[in-house]
């Protein structure tokens, strides 16, 4: 994967796909509606599945095909559907108003993080023009954008989606940088993601029954 250039057809598809993944993260960051968060996340996951499938095709790697399928089924369909049903509809979530920073400030910070990712993370052994050299900063940027969403947003559901986006960023990096990442590890990570999602889902609904609006960002009450 590391020798793949941006000019080759496979490289071009992967590069374009990575850019779209970054854009969907930015779109999610710039949105204020819970429903949209999930739409953008689902879109991003489908794009990620496309990236994995492209890599699988190029590498002729069965493990990556499995991964692409898992990504599509779980992240592209199951998680967004479950979240839409159990969180957005059941808790009747519409507009996300709990943010520590305004929307424009958040987007400025997001753009700054993208720039930071580009300046700070350039794999030094990779020549210019190689796919990995441009995708690794993109995946780092997606990780940072997810982290930003978790930090500035106070609503639990928004934080949860921030974490999911972060995870997608890591996966993008794993696919392009190291297509050979051992399958057992990748599947384990998937399993963790799923378990984490379910636990967070349970906690969010548990808290929603007690207090509203969900005060996840309340500072620790030191006594």
């Amino acid at each position: 994967m590391q020798e793949l250039t941006l000019a080759s057809p496979g490289g071009a598809i992967l590069g374009l796909d990575a850019v779209l993944i970054l854009l969907s993260a930015l779109a999610c960051l710039g949105s204020k509606l819970f429903d949209r968060y999930l739409t953008y996340y689902a879109l991003q996951s489908v794009l990620l599945a496309v990236a994995a499938a492209t890599a699988a095709y190029l590498e002729r790697d069965a493990a990556l095909w499995v991964l692409a399928g898992l990504t599509l089924a779980l992240k592209g369909w199951a998680i967004p559907t479950a979240a839409r049903h159990w969180l957005v509809q059941r808790l009747d979530l519409k507009r996300d108003s709990g943010s520590t920073a305004g929307l424009s400030l958040t987007l400025v910070m997001g753009t700054a993080l993208c720039a930071f990712a580009y300046l700070a993370v350039s794999p030094e052994r990779l020549a210019h023009g190689l796919l990995a050299a441009s995708v690794v900063p993109i995946s780092t940027a997606v990780v940072l954008l997810g982290a930003l969403a978790m930090v500035v947003r106070r609503h639990m559901v928004a934080q949860l989606i921030g974490w999911l986006i972060m995870e997608n960023g890591v996966f993008l990096g794993a696919i392009t940088l190291t297509a050979s990442f051992p399958l057992i590890v990748e599947v384990g990570i998937f399993f963790d993601l799923l378990a984490g999602f379910l636990i967070m889902l349970a906690m969010t609904t548990g808290l929603a029954e007690r207090v509203s609006p969900l005060p996840a960002g309340r500072s620790g009450q030191d006594s």
């Binding site: 590391q2 993370v121 794999p123 030094e124 052994r125 780092t140 990780v143 982290a147 978790m150 639990m156 934080q159 949860l160 974490w163 972060m166 995870e167 890591v170 990096g173 794993a174 940088l177 190291t178 050979s180 990442f181 051992p182 057992i184 590890v185 384990g188 990570i189 399993f191 963790d192 378990a195 984490g196 636990i199 967070m200 906690m203 969010t204 548990g206 808290l207 007690r210 207090v211 005060p215 996840a216 309340r218 620790g220 009450q221 030191d222 006594s223």
Partner: protein, 492 residues
């Protein structure tokens, strides 16, 4: 021999299985204790084998126990056994008082077994990918325990815990990715590039920028688990709100598991980048954690939060020891992690009994605990002295070793800073705990435990641990010494 470490990690799952199928909570408690005891016995065997010769390893280091892993394995297994014994009496009392429904008690033991198993497995692997998976699994299992007592604060604390930890641990995964990448030019399979022994052996050939980034991200990521400042913010809430034996597991075992991961990364960084880079990183995080821990210990009125901030402080001390480096620094840091685990487990377990008896964790509403609960009070007092580094307990020796390591280094003034912090911690801690234990009787005491077995279960394990802590202050057994010195050789 690979089956032996696997069995160590699998035994606590027996408790989970029994909790899943059995209606009787006592059976689940019994299974948890039996599993933990079996794990500890086998962990000692595994550690002894690791001292004797080559590490017990599978391909790709998915299972890999050397002396460093063996040392942490025994530490975690000891805490798991103590906490499972404490759980049996604590949960029985909570179920009787109606604070926990039988269903919740079963959930507790189910998650407890998973938590213990994933921690034990985490220190038995040296594959950085699997390590991430297991640490995250331990986090998720323990998140279930935190809000179990059903308070809204507990749910909020659990949420903060899961969200901050998941964020941190994802950073650690990015770190693992960079380490993997730093090795990608080397020959060998993909599994090998994630395996710690391979990375350590080829540390000089790793791409330095990627290695540096991988190390830093790993320290920040796993540092979130360890509770290193400024990533510690989940820790006080989670430790305070969890049922007491679960708090003991968090503080005594989970923090160590995070530290284990950092030490593995530090070993690679020390080899590949020189000891100064890793050492300085550890010193910065260490001193920041000691500072934050000590400052927040001052006038803390909730004793479980006090213990939690003390954990932040002690993790800082361990990081400082690793930062000073050399034989003394790393030896002291490892020994300190064992000592701290023992001391903090006693504090949380005995503190849990006090909270059950008085129905409060607020020290300004407590007084004269030693008079009403002599055994528990005495244990708390002894463990408090131990945790503050008073001689002749083990923590005195390990802190003294770390201080000596600092004095031999090129920045001896750091030692003065550390000692200053420790003095403030001593005053803050003893003021709060002293007032609660001694002083005029205050608060309404209601005996939480019924019958001799529960009373014994609540006191005897902690008493044994305190005696062990005393013993470690007087003499370090040669078995432990060789485990430690061999571990140091791996990290230096």
């Amino acid at each position: 021999m690979v089956w032996l470490p696997v069995l160590v990690a699998a035994l606590p799952l027996g408790g989970s299985a029994v909790a899943a199928v059995s209606v009787r909570t006592r059976r689940a408690a019994l299974a948890a204790v039996a599993g933990a005891a079996g794990s500890l016995a086998l962990a000692v065997v595994v550690a002894t084998l690791a001292i004797a010769g080559t590490p017990i390893a599978s391909a790709g280091a998915f299972v890999y126990v050397d002396s460093l892993g063996g040392f942490f394995l025994v530490t975690v297994a000891v805490v798991v056994l103590l906490a499972s014994l404490g759980s049996s009496s604590y949960l029985a009392a909570e179920e009787r008082s109606g604070q926990l429904s039988p269903r919740r008690v079963r959930i507790y033991f189910g998650a407890f077994g998973l938590f213990a198993a994933s921690m034990l497995a985490a220190v038995e692997t040296a594959n950085l990918g699997l390590l991430f998976i297991l640490v995250e699994a331990a986090t998720l299992a323990s998140v279930v325990l935190v809000p179990l007592e059903g308070r809204t604060e507990g749910l909020e604390a659990g949420w903060r815990y899961v969200i901050i930890s998941s964020l941190g641990i994802t950073v650690a995964l990015v770190g693992a990715l960079f380490l993997f990448y730093s090795a990608s030019a080397l020959p060998g399979s993909a599994e090998a590039h994630l395996a710690w022994p391979f990375l350590l052996a080829h540390a000089h050939q790793l791409a330095p920028t990627a290695l540096r980034l991988g190390f830093l991200l790993g320290v920040v990521g796993y540092g979130t688990k360890v509770g290193l400042a400024p990533m510690h913010t989940w820790l006080p809430d989670a430790h305070a709100e969890a049922p007491a034996p679960a708090s003991a597991m968090l503080s005594g075992a989970l923090l160590n598991v995070g530290m284990y991961a950092i030490i593995r990364l530090l070993a690679i960084a020390n080899r590949g980048l020189g000891t100064q880079y890793g050492g300085r990183t550890m010193l910065i995080f260490g001193f920041l954690s000691v500072l934050v821990g000590v400052v927040f210990m001052i006038r803390r009125r909730d004793f479980k939060r006090l213990f939690a901030y003390s954990s932040v402080e002690h993790m800082g001390i361990i990081a400082v020891g690793l930062g000073f480096g050399g034989l003394l620094g790393i030896y002291g840091a490892l020994l300190h992690s064992l000592n701290h685990s023992l001391g903090k487990t006693i504090l949380f377990l005995s503190g849990g009994s006090v909270a059950l008896a008085y129905g409060t964790r607020r020290t300004d509403r407590l007084g004269g605990v030693v008079g009403t609960m002599p055994w528990t009070g005495a244990l708390l007092f002894g463990a408090a002295l131990a945790i503050l580094g008073a001689p002749p307990f083990g923590l005195f020796i390990s802190e003294f070793t770390i201080v000596r390591a600092g004095l031999t280094g090129d920045q001896p003034w750091l030692v003065a800073l550390l000692l200053g912090f420790l003095a403030v911690a001593f005053l803050a801690f003893i003021r709060t705990v002293g007032g609660m234990l001694l002083g005029a009787p205050r608060g309404v005491h209601r005996e939480p435990y019924h019958g001799a077995p529960e009373h014994l279960l609540a006191v005897v394990p902690s008493a044994v641990a305190l005696v062990a802590l005393l013993g470690l202050g007087l003499l370090i057994p040669s078995w432990l010494n060789s485990l430690l010195t061999q571990s140091v050789a791996l990290v230096r």
